[in-house]
């Protein structure tokens, strides 16, 4: 039986598309989004207890550094820049029913490409033009990286979860090869790319250390949200995501739209990598992989694929990320804890949705 191997469960299953409800609805929504986070914090806290760490101290440090210290908040906002691009890419993909899990590979290749091209370009072009070119090259490389999974899904119905994951593993190794062998800075002993001088990076906002990349990220996610909800193109993508057969029946060119979705999603991930290098890091060190791609997934789900809500949840994730790094140094809890917390949030959220659905059903009966 040759059937479509693409997953039949749509990511938009968690998407709320019915119109705005009354006040009670808003309260329910609030409960449904904050509730899972709180429950997850408690469960993760228990795990911390089990390994002998005081959870309250941990969360305290996270908030202290991530939110309540002026320097920390700036770092948090800076960290949001690449995360917002990644979230934007995921929103496009998930609302179209496609599981682009290749974000990390696309991110790294975009980052490496930007790291390789920017220092060279700023020497021959005016700064603003050089950076724009660098961003574009990074985007194109990431898009190319998504081409094979996109074509396989569009024309052969091959499950994109597997293909994009494989491309991520490939991309991570390829990025390392590029850093260590091709783009390696001959002037340093540590394997890394040529560093983009701080003056040439994306300007900071006003007097802070926040990169202006944050503004680019906000723009990206808001544009994505508006396109998905207000334009014909966005509607077509959502139809493909909600009911692929109806999309065929309605005469939408599904293969073309599929490739477009992958391209946009990957391009945004590539831009995320570029923004992280050009705005923050300045270079790529060997074996560097912050693995933001998968950590952003729960934020996007919590936001129910809504761009504006996603900004809020990406902020929370950012706080956790920055604060977690600090807590790691002070309490000896490695960053891996973030992964644990984030995955518990995802599971609790899914459970919460289920119980909420059941509750609604029994109320109607």
């Amino acid at each position: 039986m040759s059937i479509d191997t693409a997953p039949t469960v749509s990511a938009t299953a968690l998407d709320a598309t019915s119109g705005a409800g009354p006040r009670r609805d808003i309260l329910r929504r609030l409960l449904m989004t904050l509730g899972p986070i709180l429950v997850a914090l408690v469960i993760a806290g228990c795990i911390l207890l089990a390994v002998g760490v005081d959870p309250l101290a941990y969360y305290g440090y996270v908030l202290e550094k991530g939110l309540f210290s002026p320097l920390g908040v700036q770092q948090t906002l800076t960290r949001m820049a690449p995360l917002l691009f990644l979230a934007a890419g995921l929103i496009v993909a998930f609302r179209s029913g496609m599981w682009n899990l290749g974000g990390d590979g696309q991110f790294l290749l975009g980052a490496v490409t930007a790291a390789a091209s920017a220092p060279v370009l700023v020497e021959i072009l005016p700064a603003w033009l050089a950076l724009i070119c660098s961003f574009l090259i990074a985007m194109v490389v990431a898009v190319i990286w998504s081409l094979v999974p996109a074509l396989l899904r569009a024309y052969q119905g091959v499950n994109e979860i597997i293909t994009t994951l494989m491309m991520t593993f490939l991309g991570t190794s390829l990025a390392n090869v590029l850093v260590k062998l091709v783009f390696r800075d001959p002037g340093t002993t540590v394997p890394q790319t040529r560093t983009l001088p701080v003056d040439e990076r994306l300007p900071r906002l006003f007097d802070t250390t926040i990169t202006s990349g944050l503004l680019l990220g906000l723009a990206a996610i808001i544009i994505v949200h508006l396109v998905m909800t207000r334009t014909a193109f966005g509607l077509k993508l959502r139809i493909v995501g909600a009911n692929p057969r109806a999309a065929v029946h309605a005469g939408l060119g599904v293969p073309g739209l599929t490739i477009a979705v992958f391209a946009i999603s990957a391009g945004l991930a590539g831009l995320a990598g570029a923004v992280d290098i050009i705005g923050v890091q300045g270079n790529v060190r060997a074996d560097w992989n912050p693995a933001y791609g998968l950590a952003v997934i729960p934020a996007v789900f919590l936001a129910r694929m809504n761009g504006f809500a996603a900004i809020g949840f990406v902020f929370l994730l950012s706080v956790l990320s920055i604060g977690g790094e600090s807590a790691a140094r002070r309490l000896g809890v490695p960053n891996h804890f973030t992964l644990v917390l984030v995955s518990i949030v995802l599971i609790v959220l899914a459970l919460a949705e289920y119980f909420d659905h059941r509750y609604n059903q029994s109320r109607k009966a």
Binding site: R230, T231, A232, K236, N243, R245, A246, A250, K364
Partner: protein, 522 residues
């Protein structure tokens, strides 16, 4: 007319329902039903779509539990908790939608249900099956994969499965929708033989004629309630026509004649008008689970309704999809008003005036989670005035949607309601509005009244007639012969992906079509 063999009065019922009620969100599917099922009798459950028949069956076969009332088996109150329990009690069900695993053979399907650690007992099964098929006069290919069997053969396998499990009560749910007229007769005869062997048979249908022809006892269901029963004695006393009138009275109150009585269409079609749709030699390659089409040709003139009759699964859906552009053709031509569209995309064909109303309303025709308003324009995404420069114009969409809701009498709480919440009949109205509202020249209807209750069925049929009266060309694909006879000017029969003949809808059309369907010349 059927006759009962031996049925002493006061015999114990195998199964009895007392005051059984079942509710789903927003609807009472069964309301206080009393029913008694006795061995040696064919008990017909008659009711239109939505009357609650399938829910009742679900409870008898252990798939659902009643909310109120009780079920008695052999006189003792016995809640039927699961399909396994139902089987253990001797209740076997042949469902409307096939419950066989397509990738397994007949034998493997019959063996499903044994203890998991065992080797399947194939020899034992073969012996048992041979015994049963001999006494019933049917033949079954034990080692064929179920996906290779025809629908009628699959049904026989399901009946066989119930027999292998020593069922005492056999429930047949709408089993005739997939059969030829001859196949229906054979099924009726088979039920008679089973009843004579002492089984209790429950036969569910919405077709009056079948109920009258095959039953010993008829219980009539309407909107979840049992509105009447015709016991065997009364059955034997009356003729078929009288039985039908009595049933009609039970279901619809005193009415003149049968609401489903055949009407002959009274449109006049100009014989010299150029055909709106010309199909010549249309062929489609077969796939794993769909037959191909071989060289299909027909014309439809403006104002004409051409019907496609045939057993489900003989290429009807593929024909509709090939015409609409959803399925690639390997050969042939399709012309709409003279323009060749066989190479055009779905959207381009629509712009030429082709419309396709799919039978799969929620799976393909609409996006269930999207609001009613958007579903009206699913096939026009991006088109002015609803989108300008790619941006959605909400006011325009809502305005036109409200108009369509009024015009086509769509009952919906609001324009924003997700379309999946509407009843089947109202979803069909949304589809009708979308396809017929403007610019249509040729309309393809695929099983348009499937699953609708009587009121919506009649309304849909009227719309189709009105469509033709406006001068459009209509292709009506249906498995309901009565529907085709009451609406079409000509009826063609499709079998194995080819058109085997077409007849004018005259007085003897029923016989001619029946003959074509079983492979004889009309």
């Amino acid at each position: 007319m059927s006759s009962l063999s031996s049925s002493p009065a006061g015999k114990r019922d195998i199964v009895a329902l007392e005051g059984v009620t079942k509710r789903f969100p927003g609807i009472v599917a069964n309301d206080g039903i009393d029913l008694s099922i006795s061995p040696g009798e064919v008990h017909v459950l008659l009711g239109e779509n939505g009357a609650g028949k399938s829910t009742l069956i679900g409870m008898l076969s252990g798939l659902q539990q009643p909310d109120e009332g009780r079920i008695l088996v052999d006189g003792k109150p016995t809640p039927i908790t699961s399909p396994r329990h139902a089987l253990a009690l001797g209740i076997g069900t042949v469902f409307q939608h096939m419950m066989l695993v397509p990738t397994l053979t007949v034998a493997e399907n019959l063996l499903l249900g044994g203890p998991w650690w065992q080797r399947p007992r194939t020899e034992e099964l073969a012996a048992r099956v041979a015994e049963i098929t001999r006494s019933l006069g049917i033949t079954v290919k034990l080692h064929a994969k179920v996906s290779e069997l025809s629908l009628g053969e699959q049904q026989q396998v399901e009946i066989l499965r119930a027999m292998v499990r020593n069922s005492r009560l056999l429930i047949l749910d709408e089993s005739t929708s997939m059969l030829t007229p001859k196949g229906i007769e054979e099924l009726g005869a088979l039920m008679r033989r089973l009843a004579e062997k002492g089984l209790a048979i429950v036969f569910i249908t919405h077709k009056l004629k079948e109920a009258a022809a095959f039953g010993d006892r008829i219980s009539v269901l309407k909107l979840g309630r049992k509105v009447g029963e015709i016991p065997p004695e009364r059955f034997r006393a009356l003729g078929e026509q009288e039985i039908i009138s009595e049933i009609v009275e039970l279901m619809f109150g005193k009415q003149k004649g049968d609401p489903e009585a055949a009407q002959r269409p009274t449109r006049t079609i100009r014989a010299d008008a150029a055909p709106l749709l010309e199909v010549a030699g249309l062929s489609v390659a077969p796939t794993d689970n769909a037959p191909g089409l071989s060289s299909i040709s027909f014309d439809i003139r403006p104002g004409e309704i051409l019907g496609i009759a045939g057993i489900d699964g003989n290429g009807q859906k593929q024909l509709a999809e090939a015409l609409a552009g959803q399925r690639a053709a390997t050969g042939g031509s399709v012309r709409l008003e003279g323009a060749a569209i066989e190479a055009a995309s779905v959207g381009e064909r629509r712009r030429h005036g082709l419309r396709y109303l799919t039978d799969d309303r929620l799976g393909e025709g609409t996006v269930g989670t999207f609001p009613v308003s958007i579903n009206f324009f699913l096939k026009q995404v991006g088109a002015a005035p609803f989108w300008r420069g790619g941006v959605e114009q909400r006011a325009e969409i809502d305005r036109r949607a409200a108009e369509l809701v009024r015009e086509y009498d769509v009952r919906t709480p609001s324009l924003k309601t997700p379309v999946a919440r509407l009843s089947g009949g109202n979803i069909q109205k949304v589809l009708l509005a979308r396809e017929l509202a403007e610019g249509a020249k040729v309309v393809i209807f695929n099983k348009p009244t499937y699953g609708l209750d009587l009121a919506n069925t009649l309304a849909s049929r009227q719309r189709i007639r009105d469509t033709a009266a406006r001068g459009l060309a209509v292709l009506l694909i249906s498995t309901d012969l009565e529907e085709l006879l009451s609406m079409c000017d000509r009826i063609a029969v499709i079998a194995n992906g080819a058109l085997v003949g077409a007849v004018e809808n005259s007085d003897d059309a029923r016989t001619k079509v029946g003959r074509l369907m079983i492979g004889l010349a009309a």
